[in-house]
Every structure is written in structure tokens, then in C-alpha cells.
């Protein structure tokens, strides 16, 4: 008796030995009931086509395009940097690090000096200072995350390895949690800043990266994390105000 599970494998042309497949084929030729059963099964399976593809939200498309631009930007500056002398021994990595600084610098600048203008239902824009848009508990959590990331990056062995990559992926995951929390707390600048770290962390997680490149990127990240931590520690809570 050939059951439907075997017929399912026969349909997919996968998971049966040649003998098993030949056995099903000859049975289908000689057994009309089995052939009818297989016909019904195959009609159903072939009808289960790819469900309609929902469009990805525009902000996600923007994020993905942006991530490629950031990653490319961090590489494109390398040739100019190599010609500048003192940093030559860091070569490609310094190009990446300086470009990353630019991206992070812009994000940091927006975070610490800019305010978010949040539309409210009655259409009057409300300007909220960044520090009040972020609850104290979130800020504390963010500080812990940044400190831990800083410590973990400093402790990473120089040679790229699977362990390094896994640790970096964990940092990226944590980063994303805080990025989402920032978005939920109407703090797009914090989210943008955290997102700016991601292409650099992903490059560091790449097991093909040269030790000197990894070292340069780690040094840059450590510097940026330090700047952000210092600013967070200095920035007192402020009252939200409307304009």
C-alpha cells in the first residue's frame, strides 16, 4: 500500500530512492485508485502557488537602500586616505573608519543638537527635545548596552573568527532592540544613530576581514561609543516643550 506521504515525496521528486520511485511509477500505471489519489494530491500541490507578495513598507526599502550606501561609502573613501601618509598603514580600514565617522558624526550631531518635530493629531507640530523623548529607563538601558558593546569590542581577539562573528551578531541584535525601542519612543534620531553603527559592525563580523582593518574599525567604534556615552552622561533631563 503506497500512502500519501510517499506520493508527496514522489510529487516533489525528492527523498525517494531510485527503487522506491520506480515502484511508485509502476504502481501508478497498474492501480487506477492510486493514480486517482495521486492525481488529486498533485492537483492540490501544484495549485498551492506562491501566495501574493505583499509590498515591503517604503521605510524598509529606504533602510535597505541606505544600508548599501553606508556600506559602500565606508569603502569608497579608501583610495584617498591611502595617499595621506600618516594613516597609510591602516589603508582600507581607515577609509572605512573615516567614512563611518562621517555617517556616525552626522547621526550624533542630529541626536545631540537637533530636536525631533513630531506631528500630533490636531496638526500642530510639537518639538520635543531628544532627552525628554527618551524615557530615563531607556537611556539607562542604552548606556548599559553601549558600555557592554564597548567592552566586548575591546575584548575581541584580533583574528577574525566564527566566535567573533557570533559575538558581533549579538551586539547587532541588541542594537536593533534599542533601535526599535527608540522608534517606539518617538526618537528617530536615536534610532538613526544606532542604525549607523550596523554596517560597521557587520563589516567587523565578516570573517574575511584583515586583522589591521578590523583593528581600525574597532578603534573607531570604541571612540564613537565613548563619545555617545559621555554625551548621554552629561545630558540632563529636560522638560518637553511645544512651539
Amino acid at each position: 500500500m503506497i500512502n500519501n506521504d510517499t506520493l508527496t515525496l514522489y510529487y516533489y521528486n525528492d527523498g525517494l530512492t531510485d527503487d522506491e520511485r520506480n515502484h511508485v511509477e509502476s504502481a501508478l500505471r497498474s492501480d487506477t485508485n492510486l493514480a486517482a489519489r495521486y492525481g488529486a494530491l498533485s492537483r492540490q500541490l501544484s495549485g498551492w502557488n506562491d501566495p501574493e507578495t505583499p509590498a515591503a513598507p517604503p521605510h524598509l526599502l529606504a533602510r535597505w537602500h541606505d544600508s548599501i550606501d553606508r556600506a559602500a561609502q565606508s569603502e569608497n573613501n579608501a583610495p584617498e586616505i591611502e595617499k595621506t601618509g600618516p594613516f597609510q598603514f591602516f589603508s582600507f580600514a581607515w577609509g572605512g573608519a573615516l567614512a563611518a565617522t562621517l555617517a556616525l558624526g552626522v547621526a550624533l550631531g542630529m541626536f545631540f543638537s537637533g530636536n525631533d518635530v513630531i506631528p500630533i493629531p490636531d496638526g500642530i507640530p510639537v518639538e520635543v527635545t531628544q532627552s525628554t523623548a527618551v524615557p530615563a529607563s531607556f537611556t539607562r538601558g542604552l548606556q548599559v548596552h553601549l558600555r557592554e558593546s564597548q567592552w566586548e569590542l575591546a575584548s575581541l581577539p584580533a583574528e577574525a573568527s566564527t566566535d567573533n562573528a557570533q559575538l558581533l551578531m549579538q551586539i547587532i541584535e541588541q542594537n536593533r532592540m534599542f533601535e526599535r525601542a527608540a522608534k517606539q519612543n518617538n526618537s528617530p534620531n536615536v534610532a538613526r544613530l544606532l542604525r549607523a553603527f550596523e554596517p560597521i559592525l557587520m563589516r567587523l563580523a565578516n570573517e574575511d576581514i584583515a586583522p589591521e582593518d578590523a583593528e581600525a574599525l574597532r578603534a573607531q567604534l570604541a571612540f564613537e561609543l565613548n563619545v555617545m556615552l559621555t554625551k548621554l552622561a552629561r545630558d540632563p533631563s529636560k522638560e518637553a516643550h511645544t512651539t
Binding site: D5, D14, G47, W48, E52, R63, S67, A71, E173, P199
Partner: protein
């Protein structure tokens, strides 16, 4: 020299933007079907893009860039869902073949696409993932087993359960 030529032949930034514009919906949908979590699907596509960018020198021009990224995105989605719910992916040692005859539900196949999306939600994670990878992504059973770090037998059992459940669910949805 070969490495230099290879890097010159790597996909460009413009090509990445082009495939994102054309195919990111499909990558996202595939990841969403696997994870059932918009955040994880978003992250999977993001991981795939950055990983593909960092390894673009490994891309073979004989392949299609969008297909290559699609595969990386599906792998990323699998990795994320396994991390998010590790217990779901423990080896299913107790899985035994179920030879209970299933009803042969014969019905028209029109309008099944919408129903399938709904019916997929009624499967367990491993059943859904095995079905999606086998039926929609057309992976080999061996590849699925390797990716999920389990046996082909386990994958087969999950696939059988998925097909059985889907046949019943689809019949119910059609009769509603």
C-alpha cells in the same frame, strides 16, 4: 590578478539598488513567511544585504544577483527564527511516521493563493518552515535538514504533517 579581476566583476552599488527596488518585496515576503514576524523579516533582509555586499566578490556572474540575495535572506531568516525560538528547533526524536489515510480532498485550485497564506498560519513553526522551503523555495530535503541541523527523516515528517494539515485547512477554507 584573478582576485583583482574578480573584484572588478563584482556587483556594483547601482546593481544592488536595482535589485532592491525590483526584488526586495519578494525577499521580505519569503522572510515573513518563514518568521511570521515583521521585525525579524526586516532584519533578515538587512542582514542578507550587508552580508551580500561584504561578500560580493564571491558572487558568480553566471548566477542572478537577486536569487543569490534571496537565498542569503532565507538563510538569515532561518537563523533569526532559530535564535528567537530555540526550543522549537530541538531535534524531533519522537517523530514517527503517521500512516493514517488522509482524506483526498479534491477541489478546484482557483483562489488558493490567498487561502494558502491563511492556512500556513495554522502550521507549527517547523512544519511551516519545511513546507515553505520545500514547496515555495524549492530546496532539496537534504539542504533543509543541513540548514536546520537535523535529519532528512525529521524534515520529511514535518513536511508530511504540513501537507496533511494544509489539505484539510484548504478544504475547510474553500467550504466556508
Amino acid at each position: 590578478m584573478v582576485a583583482v579581476l574578480k573584484s572588478l566583476d563584482s556587483p556594483t552599488q547601482a546593481e544592488f539598488h536595482e535589485v532592491i527596488a525590483a526584488r526586495a518585496d519578494r525577499w521580505y515576503a519569503a522572510c515573513l513567511r518563514i518568521t511570521r514576524n515583521p521585525d525579524l523579516a526586516e532584519d533578515a533582509v538587512q542582514d542578507a544585504l550587508l552580508s551580500a555586499w561584504n561578500k560580493r566578490h564571491q558572487f558568480e556572474r553566471s548566477a542572478r544577483l537577486d536569487t543569490w540575495i534571496h537565498r542569503i535572506a532565507v538563510n538569515a531568516a532561518l537563523m533569526l527564527i532559530r535564535k528567537a525560538k530555540p526550543a522549537t528547533w530541538e531535534p524531533l526524536e519522537s517523530d514517527v511516521p503517521d500512516d493514517t489515510p488522509t482524506p483526498d480532498v479534491v477541489h478546484a485550485v482557483d483562489a488558493l493563493n490567498t487561502d494558502l497564506a491563511e492556512a500556513l498560519n495554522q502550521l507549527t513553526d517547523i512544519e511551516r518552515v519545511c513546507f515553505v522551503l520545500k514547496h515555495l523555495e524549492q530546496w532539496r530535503l537534504k539542504e533543509i535538514a543541513q540548514e536546520l541541523d537535523t535529519t532528512v527523516g525529521t524534515i520529511k515528517q514535518a513536511l508530511f504533517r504540513a501537507v496533511r494539515k494544509l489539505r484539510v485547512s484548504m478544504a475547510d477554507l474553500r467550504s466556508e
